[in-house]
Amino acid sequence: MATTATRATAAHGAGGKATKHPHDVPPVLRVAEPPAELAREALVLNNRSLGWITEAIAGICEKPMPKWWWPVFLLSAGGMTMMFSLVAYLIATGVGVWGLNQPAAWAWDITNFVFWIGIGHAGTLISAVLFLLRQKWRTSINRAAEAMTLFAVACAGIFPVVHTGRVWYALYPGFLFPVPNANAIWPQFRSPLLWDVFAVSTYGTVSLLFWYVGLIPDLATLRDRARTLIRKFSYGLFALGWTGSNRHWCNYEKAYLIFAGLSTPLVLSVHSIVSFDFAVSVVPGWHTTIFPPYFVAGAIFSGFGMVLTLLIPMRALFNLHDIITTRHIELMCKVLLATGSIVGYAYGMEFFIAWYGGSPYELYAFKNRAFGPYWWAYWSMISCNVISPHFFWSKYLRTSPVFVWVVSIFVNIGMWFERFVIIVTSLHRDYLPSSWGYFTPSWVDVFTFVGSFGLFMTLFLLFIRFLPAIAISEVKNVTPQADPHHPLGGAKGHH
C-alpha cells in the first residue's frame, strides 16, 4: 500500500519533485487503498453465504413464531379492536365524544393523522430516494420500512374521515371524493383537505405497488421453499410466475426504477400537501412559507424514528445482527441527526420571522407556544426533536442499540407533540380573547389514538409472520459474492 501511495504522490508531483507540475498527467493512475481506519464496514457481516441469507430471512416466516409473538399479537389486536369500537361509538354518537370544541376545532384527530402520515414517509424514502442515490445500505431495512409505511398510511386514513362527523357523507356520496351526487354537492376543490385525499391515496397506491413489486422475487423464493400446498399456492399466486430468468430480472429492474422515480416526488408532495392544510390559512403560527419542506423533513425524521423503534427489537428477537448491522443503525442515527437539525432550523426560522416580520399576532402565537398554557407540549417537542438527536454526535451512543431505541421513542413522542403544538396552540387562542379556550382530550381521544398503535402493530406482526421482513434478493445483491470483480466475488473460479 505504501508503495502505491508513494508512486501516486510522485507521479502527481504533490510530494516534493519540484520539476513536475501538479497537473501533469501520470502515465499510469495509481490510487492508494484507504487507510484501514476509514475502510467501509461490510453490509452483511461475517461474509455470510447467499444460502445463509435466504435461510435467515425466509426462516422467520416458515418456522413457528417465537413465544413472544402471540401475546404481543393479542395485545395489539385488542388495541385495534378498542380503536374500531371507539370509532363506532364516535360515529354513533357524534364528534362531541372528543374533547375538541371551538376555538380548537381540530385537535387530536388531525394531530394523529399528521403523525401517522409522517411515520409513513420513511418507507418510500428508503425504497425510492435512497435507491436513486445508490445507498446500498437501504437493502436491509427497506422492506420492513415499506410495510410500515403502508400500515401507517392505513392508520392515518382513519382520522380525517372520522373527524368529519357524518362519515357517510365523507365517503359516498361524498364531499371528500370527487363523486357528484343527487344533492349536487361537489367536493370543494379549493380545500387542502381534498388535496389530501388525492395525495394520500396516490401515495398509498404507489407505495403498495412499489412494495409488492419488490416482494415478487422473494415471494417466489418462499413458494419454492414451501412445504405445504396452501403455502405453495398462496405464495405462487402472488409471485406471478417468477422464475428468476434474465428477462424477468430485466423487467423487474426497470419496473423498480420507474416506481422509484414515481415515488420520489410523491414523498415530497404528500407531506407538502399535508402542510398546506395549515399553511394556506391565515392563522398565526400556521401560515408560514417554510412549512412544505419543514413538514417533509419532519416526516422523514419521524419515519426513521419509527423504523428504528421497530427494527432494533426485530433484529434482536430474530437474531439478524449480521444483516441489520450496527452500521445500519448508525447511518439511521445520522439521518435522524440531519433531519432533526433541519426541523430545528425550521423551528428557529419560524420564531425568527415571527419577530422579524413585526406582526403582533404572529409573534404572540409563537410566544404563546413557548410560554403559554401549552408550554409543556412545546418544550417536550423541543427536547425530543431538537435536543435528543444530538446525542448521536457520539459514536459510542449511536452504536448502542438500546440507547438508540430509547431515543427513537423520544423522536416518536416529539413528533406527535410537534403536530399537537402546531394545531392546538395556534387554535386555542384566536383573534378574539373572549373566545379563548383550553383543549383537554377526552378518554375517547386518548384510547382511539392508543388503539391506532394496536392496528399498526397487528398489521406489522402479521407482516413479519407471513412475508420476508427483509428483502432477500436485494441484500444478496450487496454482498461481495454478487460482484464478479470483488476478490470474494461469486464468479471467481466458476467460469
Binding site: A5, P27, V28, P265, T288, P292, Y345, W355, G357, S359
Partner: protein, 426 residues
C-alpha cells in the same frame, strides 16, 4: 500563510475605510431620502420600492451602479456558496463518487477569501444608495423598528463582512486539509474535514440565511418569508452544479482530470443538477403559492410589485426558464452526459440565475419594469472574470483532484484503470 495575514490586514483596513465611507455618505443620503420620501407615494415608501428612486422614476447614477453591482455579487456569491455546499456534502455523506470532483468545488469556494470579501467593499461603500432601510428612521417604520437590533448600520457593517470572511475561512480550511492529505494520505485530514462539515453545516445554514437576508431581502425590509434562505440556497446550488459539470468536463478533456473522471461523475452531477431544478421549483412554488393563497398585504406586496410592467414577463421567464425548460431537457438520462446539450444548458442556468437575482433586486430601483443598463453586463462579466481568474490560479496551484482521498479508489474503479506501462492518449 504569512502573505495571507498580510492580505488580511490590508483587507481589514479596506473594510474599515469602506464602512466609514458608507457611513459618511449615509448622512447625505438621509437628507436626500427625506426629500425623496416626501414626494414618494405612501405605498411605495411603505414597501421601500421608491425609496431611492428619483422623481423621474429612475435611480441616480451611484444607486444604479450599486444595484447592478449587487446583482452581479449575489450571482457570484451563489457559485461560491454552492461550491462550499458541495464540499460539505461530500464529507457529510462520506461519498465516493464525488471524490474526483471535490477539488474543483474546493477551489471554487476558496475564492470567497479574500476575493469575495474584497468585492464586497463597493457594496459597503454604496450601502446607503442601495438599501433604503438604512435611510429610514426606525421610529417612523414599525417593521424596521421591531428588528432594529439586527437592522442597524453597525450590525450591517460588522456582520456582513464577518459572514463572508467566515465562509472564506471555512472554505480555506477544507482546501488546506485536502491538499495536506495529498502529501501524506493520513486519515486525520478526512476525519477533521468530516467534523468541520458536520458542525459547519449548521453554521452554513443559519449564516447563509442571514447573509441573503442582509444583502438581498433587506432591500424591501418589510417583506418576510421563512422560505427565503432556502430559496436562495436552492438557486445557488443549482447554478453551481451546472458550472461544476462544465468545469469538470473541461478539465477532463484537457487532461488534469482525464484519469479520474468517468461517465459516473458526469452523470451524477447531471442528476443532481436535475434534482435541484425540481427542488428550486418546489421551494419557489411553495413560497409563491402560500403567499398568493393567503393574500395578506404584508407579504403579497413583494410579488405584486414584481407583476408590474415587464416584471411580470421576467416572472414568467423564471417560471419557464428556471424550471420547465431544464426539467424537460434533463429528463432524459443520456442528455446528462451529452456536452452538446449540457454546455448550453449550463449557460442557460447562468442566465436564469442572473434573471432570478435581477427579479429579486431590480424591482427596487426600477419598480415599473425591467431596465437593463450598461452596468449590469459590465459588472457581471467583470466579477465573473476576476473570480474565474483566481479560481484557475488556485486550481493550478495544487493537484487537480484529491490524490489520496480514501474514497478515490472506489470512485475510479468504476471504470477501467489503464494497465501498468500504458501510454496516455489525448
Amino acid at each position: 500563510m504569512k502573505s495571507l495575514f498580510q492580505n488580511f490586514r490590508v483587507l481589514v483596513a479596506l473594510l474599515v475605510v469602506s464602512g466609514l465611507l458608507g457611513w459618511a455618505t449615509g448622512g447625505l443620503q438621509a437628507a436626500d431620502a427625506a426629500t425623496t420620501n416626501a414626494v414618494a407615494s405612501a405605498d411605495g415608501h411603505a414597501h421601500g420600492v421608491d425609496g431611492h428612486v428619483h422623481a423621474g422614476g429612475e435611480p441616480d447614477f451611484l444607486a444604479q451602479i450599486g444595484y447592478s453591482y449587487l446583482t452581479a455579487y449575489m450571482f457570484c456569491l451563489s457559485l461560491c456558496m454552492g461550491a462550499l455546499f458541495l464540499v460539505f456534502l461530500h464529507h457529510l455523506f462520506d461519498a465516493s463518487w464525488s471524490a474526483p470532483v471535490r477539488r474543483v468545488a474546493e477551489q471554487m469556494s476558496a475564492v470567497l477569501f479574500p476575493w469575495m470579501l474584497v468585492l464586497l467593499l463597493p457594496i459597503l461603500a454604496l450601502q446607503s444608495k442601495i438599501y433604503p432601510w438604512l435611510s429610514i428612521d426606525p421610529a417612523t417604520d414599525h417593521s424596521l423598528d421591531v428588528k432594529k437590533i439586527l437592522f442597524n448600520r453597525i450590525a450591517f457593517n460588522v456582520l456582513v463582512p464577518a459572514l463572508v470572511l467566515s465562509w472564506g475561512l471555512i472554505a480555506h480550511t477544507f482546501r488546506r486539509w485536502s491538499i495536506a492529505q495529498d502529501k501524506d494520505g493520513a486519515a486525520i485530514w478526512t476525519k477533521k474535514s468530516r467534523v468541520l462539515a458536520a458542525v459547519g453545516i449548521f453554521y452554513f445554514a443559519f449564516s447563509l440565511t442571514l447573509g441573503c437576508f442582509y444583502l438581498m431581502k433587506s432591500l424591501q425590509h418589510q417583506f418576510f418569508s421563512t422560505m427565503y434562505g432556502v430559496y436562495y440556497f436552492a438557486g445557488s446550488v443549482w447554478t453551481t452544479l451546472a458550472t461544476v459539470w462544465v468545469v469538470v468536463l473541461y478539465f477532463k478533456d484537457r487532461g488534469p482530470l482525464s484519469q479520474v473522471i468517468s461517465k459516473r461523475q458526469i452523470q451524477d452531477l447531471g442528476v443532481l443538477f436535475f434534482a435541484f431544478t425540481v427542488f428550486y421549483a418546489y421551494i419557489h412554488f411553495s413560497q409563491y403559492f402560500l403567499i398568493w393563497n393567503a393574500a395578506i398585504p404584508e407579504e403579497t406586496f413583494w410579488y405584486v410589485g414584481r407583476e408590474q410592467g415587464s416584471w411580470k414577463w421576467v416572472g414568467f421567464t423564471i417560471l419557464f426558464g428556471h424550471f420547465f425548460v431544464p426539467f424537460l431537457v434533463l429528463l432524459n438520462q443520456d442528455v446528462k452526459m451529452n456536452p452538446a446539450i449540457m454546455v448550453p444548458m449550463a449557460a442557460w442556468a447562468w442566465l436564469m440565475h442572473y434573471v432570478d437575482m435581477t427579479f429579486n433586486i431590480m424591482p427596487v430601483p426600477h419598480p415599473h419594469g425591467l431596465h437593463v443598463t450598461f452596468w449590469d453586463p459590465l459588472f457581471w462579466a467583470g466579477m465573473v472574470s476576476v473570480l474565474g481568474y483566481f479560481f484557475l490560479k488556485n486550481f493550478r496551484s495544487a493537484a487537480p483532484y484529491p490524490l489520496r482521498d480514501p474514497r478515490l479508489k472506489e470512485a475510479v474503479t468504476h471504470h477501467e484503470v489503464p494497465a501498468p506501462g500504458a501510454t496516455v492518449h489525448h
